[in-house]
């Protein structure tokens, strides 16, 4: 089987000490999973991964896999050849011919690193010779060592490696290196962005969605599954837990003061998410809350809902404003799905004037008075799972 080589640059991982193998190992698994069903081999070398992909794999698929794998800072398609200068010359010219759009390039440079000091030519000489060759072939180009349009990299190690473009990766840490969390995924703009942010720090996530049929529609449910599928590009496969929430909402509606319903509902969601997290071995809750964005996200409200779980609650958007969140949502491709007009909460469960600054003792008492534990347990028991990838 023939393979195409991609060189992958690692960022933060390469700063890790004794744990580095763990991070690199996870990243290797993640990349292999994404490239499946195409076969790949991955070799590690200082600060680099050498990803060899079965050459049947389309280039676009490989680039897509690498550009969405957290832990990768940059990558490029590369040529591996014998450490023989004649071979290096012809392969370098082939790479330039194939990958540079000459009419759009004005300047270039050749950058050589010689790890193998037994190689007879010095780095500078290799660069100069290759640069000369390129100039001979393409008269319109000039050399600019400070701000070149394109760079040809040459590395002499166990073999010679040639590569040009360095496409950027998403940075961060490989998904799965930070443990597992339970994401509270609504159909809105924020929670997918929160998932992206946490995945970037290496958190593997499952997601929980509260489905209140017939008060919310099947379309709203499908939309959340669609969001989870989009997110799986960054987060790997997501198990989506669909909680039947109608009875809980009706109970709250019937047994509480109107202005408290939203907060009590949030409290119930937090409890259910915690119960499912325990079942699924998740040790954190992730939400898309942003301070004071809505009534249930004021400091007072968050203090109350925080008390509903013994797990740490990660709120990566807490200090972001809506515009910043939307920018990220567009970037990761969830925005267009999030704004589809299928509401995740029916208007009859949304009080006109929800409590903004609840008093902790009084709202806690209201929650206790609900006597809703049995309904929450039932909801968890009836929860269905959807695999989103």
């Amino acid at each position: 089987m023939d393979y195409t080589l991609y060189l992958v640059r690692l960022g933060e991982i390469s700063l890790k000490g004794l744990n580095r193998d763990f991070f690199e190992g996870k990243l290797k698994t993640n990349i292999k999973t994404k490239l499946h069903p195409y076969h790949s081999r991955i070799a590690k070398q200082k600060g680099r991964l050498f990803v060899y992909v079965e050459d049947q794999a389309p280039d676009t698929l490989v680039r897509e896999a690498l550009s969405s794998s957290f832990g990768i800072v940059g990558f490029s398609k590369a040529i591996q050849c014998e450490k023989d200068f004649e071979t290096i010359k012809s392969e370098a010219m082939r790479l330039v011919d194939e990958t540079w759009k000459i009419d759009q390039v004005r300047s270039f440079k050749v950058e050589t690193r010689r790890a193998d000091k037994t190689f007879p030519m010095k780095s500078y000489d290799i660069s100069a010779e290759l640069g000369h060759l390129i100039l001979e072939r393409y008269h319109t180009l000039s050399v600019d060592v400070h701000h070149p349009d394109r760079i040809l990299y040459v590395e002499i190690r166990d073999s010679a490696y040639l590569y040009t473009d360095d496409e950027s990766g998403p940075g961060g840490l490989p998904v799965g290196t930070a443990g597992r969390g339970m994401l509270m995924l609504s159909g809105g703009i924020d929670s997918p962005v929160a998932a992206y942010r946490m995945a970037k720090r290496g958190l593997r996530m499952e997601a929980v969605y509260f489905h209140a049929y017939p008060y919310t529609s099947q379309q709203a449910m499908d939309k959340v599954a669609a969001l989870a599928r989009i997110l799986s590009r960054y987060c790997l496969r997501i198990v989506l837990h669909v909680v039947p929430f109608t009875d809980v909402q009706l109970h709250i509606k019937a047994h509480s003061r109107d202005e408290e319903t939203t907060l009590l509902m949030r409290a119930c969601m937090m409890q259910i998410a915690t119960m499912i997290a325990a079942e699924r071995d998740c040790s954190a809750i992730v939400t898309g809350e942003s301070l004071s964005q809505v009534a249930s996200q004021t400091l007072e409200s968050i203090r109350f809902t925080d008390g509903m779980t013994d797990l740490p609650v990660f709120r990566p958007l807490i200090g972001m404003d809506k515009e910043e969140i939307i920018t990220t949502a567009r970037l990761i491709g969830t925005y267009e799905t999030s704004i589809l007009p299928y509401e995740d909460c029916c208007v009859i469960f949304s009080p006109k004037h929800p409590l903004v600054k609840p008093r902790l003792d009084s709202i806690r008492k209201s929650y206790e008075l609900l006597g809703i534990e049995r309904l929450l347990k039932e909801a968890v028991e009836k929860t269905e799972r959807i695999l989103c990838s």
């Binding site: 529609s217 007009p341 029916c346 208007v347 009859i348 006109k352």
Partner: protein, 390 residues
């Protein structure tokens, strides 16, 4: 047939006869009506026979019948023809119009037309307001015949009389277009005596196929924007949809074959519905009640369950195999058009938000209606008290 379908105003099921006509015409007339050979002329002859049949059924001349791709296209051809005018004038749309009329506002305004909105009272266009809107700059008036949500039938003849009187004073011609898509087969009317310059019809609203309709207008009174092989006198260029036209013609023939009987059947269903909820504490009828004087389409009635957003009620009914149309979305910020319409009507936001359109047809049975009434009463009982509106 108990299929629980109460969304006839959205679309009706194609009749057996229309399906047969479709299949037969598709195989019997394979030629292009524009072709000069035998197969072409057979198709052309058949097409004109369909035209004559449709014209006879509508009591109009065959040279005023143009086959189109449906109601939306018919409206569009008539309205967009005004763009040929060198000096744009004013255009009046009633606020009861369907989107296939209203959505032309932007393009008309971009071309310099002033688009005026004719107001309505309780589902009926306000003709006094029309009188004040008419001036020498008005070029087009659009008034539909049967309103698609409320089922109210507009007094188009009186509106036309007003327009013509105005024309006599100014000496300037005004085109009156009537969207009759929801009216055909549901209310008795004589197209010629309405006096409109053009009218739109759609086959799938009366058990014909989708994608076929009629534009009625005097020859050469309208020039279409699209260009092609000159079919339908250039009004709707493109090779004719013979099978669809055949099926529509058959559906229309069926419609008028026992029109009075159908009207009576539908009227009985309407009375059955109205009697079942007239005294109901929760269910509110938003459409006018049916009586000898009411100008309504019997087969379209909008009610409200103010206890529930209409979308929720629609889903509960759908799960019970009963298919109705919901007016507004279950959302905190959706201000849907129909909901606004009901608020114009004088109902409060809860009533408007709970609006459900029930529409039925000649094959709807009293048993189906009883099932729907039972379901609505169940919902009213279950949710009327447990769910207090926020």
């Amino acid at each position: 047939m108990n299929n629980g379908y109460f969304d006839w105003a959205a679309t009706s099921f194609m009749s057996e006869a229309a399906c047969d006509a479709y299949r037969n015409a598709a195989s019997a007339y394979p030629g292009n009506p524009s072709s000069l050979h035998k197969l072409g002329s057979q198709a052309s002859t058949f097409l004109n026979a369909c035209r004559s049949t449709v014209a006879a059924l509508l009591h109009i001349s065959p040279d005023t019948v143009f086959f189109t791709a449906g109601g939306t296209e018919s409206n569009s051809i008539a309205i967009l023809s005004r763009l040929w005018r060198k000096s744009p004038g004013k255009i009046i749309f009633s606020n009861l119009e369907h989107d296939s009329v209203l959505q032309h506002r932007r393009i008309l305004e971009e071309h310099g037309f002033a688009v005026l909105s004719l107001t309505s009272k309780k589902g009926y266009a306000d003709l006094d307001h029309l009188d004040t809107l008419l001036d020498e700059q008005v070029d087009l008036v659009c008034l539909l015949l049967a309103q698609n949500v409320l089922g109210t039938v507009q007094d188009v003849a009186s509106a036309v009389a007003l327009v013509r009187a105005h024309e006599r004073r100014t000496g300037k011609r005004i085109h009156v277009h009537c969207d009759a898509v929801q009216a055909l087969g549901k209310v008795s009317f004589d197209l010629a005596s309405l006096g409109v310059d053009s009218a739109a019809f759609s086959a799938h609203k009366f058990q014909g196929p989708r994608g076929v309709g009629v534009l009625y207008c005097r020859p050469n009174s309208i020039e279409a924007l699209s260009r092609g092989g000159g079919q339908e006198s250039g009004l709707r260029p493109g090779t004719e949809h013979i099978a669809g036209i055949a099926a529509m013609t058959e559906a229309m023939s069926e419609l008028f074959r026992n029109f009075d009987e159908r009207m009576l059947h539908v009227h009985k269903l309407r009375r059955f519905f109205e009697d079942s909820w007239r005294e109901h504490p929760v269910i509110v009828q938003l459409s006018p009640y049916s009586n000898e004087n009411s100008r309504i389409v019997d087969s379209i009635v909008t009610i409200s369950l103010p206890c529930l957003p209409s979308e929720v009620a629609m889903r509960i009914l759908s799960d019970r195999g009963l298919y109705v149309s919901s007016g507004s979305a279950c959302s905190n910020n959706a201000k849907k058009k129909s909901s606004r319409l009901f608020q114009d009507f004088g109902f409060n936001a809860h009533v408007a938000g709970g609006a459900i359109r029930i529409s039925f047809g000649p094959t709807t049975t009293i048993e189906e209606c009883a099932m729907l009434v039972q379901a609505l009463q169940d919902i009213a009982k279950q949710y009327g008290t447990t769910v207090k509106r926020g």
